[in-house]
């Protein structure tokens, strides 16, 4: 299992890093923390690099290194990386530039597998997509952006499950909301929900919404298998069925205290591009963390 946590600034990324590392621990995943800096105009990119070299000779770090340093300090304060590495502070001298505008530092983890720190520059979606393809990550974790279309682009183009962290606080979230329907392909979602529930030590609310206008194949064997699977995991759960508009009901049920774990849309990319999808609508409208499993 490989997890990518995208952070952006010291001021807003703490909840993302906190929940991200908890999820990484739950999956005992190899974790990479990435900061994607602003895109530099191609006209000046080489000159800016030359200026950055000059700044380094005056002991100034390249932009973004301070964010990685902050992430490193967070990891070391919470004993998430090997203590030997934290004694000498952030290993700036070990930042390896791979020549493609990507700098990285490797650290050995304690509660999860290795933790890597990566710095990139450019368009956030393009850089995350490239990193996910390069590192074959299973989950990408990042904070909610105010940018229009950001959620759409993430779901559409990032080839991994996506966890969007909205105002995460430990005490606030006491349940996982698992919207399930009676279609196939829900086992992976249930597995993810169980792992997250175990990591946060909370129960799962399974929630099935019936669209009034569509017929549903109620009570399939597949669905009972999932319920059995959750029961066997030892995580406390409840199951509720409701009729109504799906997105509205999920958001209402999630309220402000549940983390949503749901399946990505099965629609073709073209259809999803023009029509949108239920997970996208939930992601756009909810105020709680949401994990879309692909």
């Amino acid at each position: 299992m490989k997890i990518l946590i995208a952070i952006g600034s010291k001021d807003f990324s703490k909840p993302t890093l906190k929940l991200g590392m908890k999820v990484a621990q739950a999956f005992n995943a190899k974790t990479t923390i990435i900061d994607v800096g602003e895109k530099i105009s191609e006209f000046s990119s080489q000159l800016v690099e030359l200026a950055q070299d000059q700044l380094e000779s005056w002991d100034f770090d390249a932009p973004g290194v301070d964010v990685l340093e902050w992430a490193f300090n967070y990891l070391s304060q919470n004993k998430l990386i090997d203590i030997k590495q934290t004694e000498t502070g952030f290993p700036k001298n070990k930042l390896i530039d791979d020549g493609e505008g990507r700098k990285m530092v490797y650290l050995s983890g304690t509660t999860c597998e290795d933790v890597n720190l990566i710095l990139r520059n450019g368009d956030i979606i393009a850089e995350l997509r490239e990193e996910v393809q390069f590192g074959e990550y299973d989950v990408t974790i990042l904070g909610k952006s105010r940018k229009r279309n950001m959620s759409h682009d993430l779901l559409q183009y990032i080839n991994s499950s996506i966890l969007i962290v909205n105002d995460y606080e430990d005490q606030k979230f006491d349940k996982i909301l698992l919207p399930l329907d009676y279609k196939d392909g829900m086992l992976k979602v249930a597995k993810y929900a169980i792992r997250v529930a175990m990591a946060l030590n909370v129960g799962i609310d399974i929630f099935t919404v019936f669209d009034k206008n569509k017929s549903q194949n109620k009570g399939s064997n597949y669905f009972s298998k999932i319920i059995k699977f959750i029961r066997r995991s030892g995580v406390q759960y409840s199951h509720e069925e409701k009729e109504g508009e799906i997105v509205e009901q999920i958001i209402k049920k999630a309220d402000k205290n549940k983390i949503i774990v749901m399946k990505a849309s099965d629609m073709s990319p073209i259809k999803r591009f023009f029509k949108g999808s239920i997970p996208l609508s939930v992601m756009n409208e909810c105020d709680v963390p949401i994990l879309i499993v692909k």
Binding site: I40, S41, E42, F43, S44, S45, Q46, L47, V48, E49, L50, A51, Q52, D53, Q54, L55, S57, W58, F60, P63, D123, A126, R129, D153, Q156, Y157, N159, S268, P269, I270, F273
Partner: protein, 470 residues
């Protein structure tokens, strides 16, 4: 769908989203090609204008790499019969391109010579510890150096000095936002202000000289300085005042931070004989620009300097190769070739005639309208494009606007330096912005004020000073 997997469809959609401006520009180009050519505009001229429009969208939005834009400009001119292969190749490699190539390489050599420490000491010796004087020192030194060396080189040299002074004042940057902006904008704007002072101050000046030469007008290095340098001296105190008034630095005196900076500089490595030799060679290059550029061209002299640095072992080719943006050089070559085509096909004359016709009697009855027109067109474009590319594509048009070609050429080159409004317009601004100590909104906040003052000052300058020396 049609046998394509979901992953390939998703990849295609991603490509289309990333390249939307490329697709838009191509569709726009095809639509414009299908519109009949206006009266008086030859078909080659119309095609050249369409290539220009498409290239502008591609350069501003950067949906494809800049070298790809350069290649597009070259091949589209050949395929559409705007000019022959030989014609395009000839206009592509001019002295202006030699100069841009040489100046980017010289920057690599100069930046690594440790001049920054000496400059820091020099500024502090002159200015003392008063913040307003220090800002004036940064602005003046940046302007004076960039008028000879080139704005990007000076910005790279000055930035660490400015940032050190800021860091020594307070490690909490939120407490000294005004001071940070004052120092950093003094560097960025100093570089822009100075870049107009001599032909070697920026690639755009050499591009303009190239266009003037094509119209059989020549201007020597010294003549250029006589016409433009006083403007720098006018601008420096005024822009300094505007910057101080806008950002209101939190500290009036920077006593302890200056002491810390002096100690830091004293501890840095001292200049070696080799560094001194590098300075001397550069001094010879400047002398060559002043006295020999009319005969051999600025680019040839810049490349001669690079040649000496290479054979003397002052710089390794691998270092030059790694740090020189060849894509930008190719792009400038191609925009100059497009500018030449716009002039040769009659498109430049047609465009300037249309502008003059549109303005009607206003241009002759209202004073300074033609000056304002050139300044607004150039300033506007250089803030979204790049100043050199602006001069490359606008130069042939503005040169046709008024009979005094030399004056309007210099006016175009000078106002192309007014790229104060955005962080991306000029390399000096981008370098300062990359420090992370100033915001993009700061550029608009101060840029509007400095831009307004500079435009007024330039109108006054060209209408009072130039008639005196003509």
């Amino acid at each position: 769908m049609l046998g394509f997997s979901n992953i390939s469809l998703s990849n295609f959609l991603f490509w289309a989203t990333q390249k939307k401006w490329f697709l838009f520009s191509i569709i726009l180009g095809v639509c414009l090609l299908n519109i009949p050519s206006p009266e008086g505009l030859p078909i080659e001229g119309k095609t050249a204008i369409i290539i220009l429009v498409v290239a502008l969208v591609l350069i501003i939005k950067e949906p494809i790499p800049l070298p790809a834009v350069a290649i597009f400009i070259i091949i589209s001119q050949i395929y559409s019969n705007v000019d022959s292969v030989d014609g395009i190749a000839k206009s592509f490699m001019s002295d202006a391109v030699f100069f841009i190539m040489g100046s980017l390489m010289l920057a690599v050599v100069i930046i690594r010579q440790g001049w920054d420490s000496r400059i820091a000491l020099g500024i502090l010796k002159i200015t003392g510890n008063k913040t307003s004087n220090i800002a004036l020192g940064f602005l003046s030194i940046s302007a004076l150096l960039s008028s000879f060396i080139g704005e990007h080189t000076v910005a790279a040299i000055m930035l660490p000095i400015g940032m050190s002074l800021i860091r020594f004042t307070s490690s909490d940057l939120s407490q000294i936002k005004g001071l940070s902006a004052t120092i950093l904008f003094s560097i960025a704007y100093g570089c822009l202000i100075g870049s107009i002072g001599t032909p070697s101050g920026g690639g755009r000046n050499v591009i303009m000289i190239n266009y003037l030469n094509q119209s059989d007008i020549s201007i020597s290095y010294f003549e250029w300085m006589v016409r433009t340098y006083p403007f720098i001296l006018f601008q420096i105190p005024i822009v300094n005042w505007v910057i101080i008034r806008t950002f209101k630095p939190e500290y009036k005196i920077l006593d302890s931070s200056i002491r810390k900076l002096v100690i830091k500089v004293a501890r840095s490595r001292s200049m070696t004989g080799r560094n001194t030799l590098t300075v001397l060679i550069f001094f010879l290059i400047v002398l060559g620009w002043v006295f020999l550029s009319e005969k051999f061209g600025l680019g040839t002299i810049a490349l001669s300097g690079v040649f000496i640095y290479l054979i003397g072992g002052f710089v390794k080719w691998s270092d030059l190769n790694r740090n020189t943006h060849w894509g930008v050089i190719i792009l400038f070559g191609s925009t100059i070739s497009l500018g030449t085509s716009i002039r040769l096909t009659g498109a430049a004359t047609w465009l300037s005639d249309k502008i003059l016709y549109g303005l009607g009697d206003v241009i002759s009855s209202v004073p300074f309208v033609s000056d304002l027109l050139v300044i607004f067109m150039t300033t506007g474009m250089s803030n979204v494009l790049s100043s050199s590319a602006t001069v490359a594509v606008l130069g042939p048009v503005t040169l046709n606007l008024v009979p005094e070609m030399l004056d309007v050429g210099l006016l175009t080159a000078m106002s192309s330096a007014f790229s104060y409004f955005t962080a991306v317009a000029a390399p000096a601004c981008t370098i300062v912005y990359s420090s992370g100590m100033v915001k993009a909104s700061d550029f608009l906040k101060i840029g509007l004020r400095v831009g307004f003052v500079s435009i007024i000052l330039l109108i006054f300058y060209v209408n009072v000073y130039w008639p005196l020396i003509n």
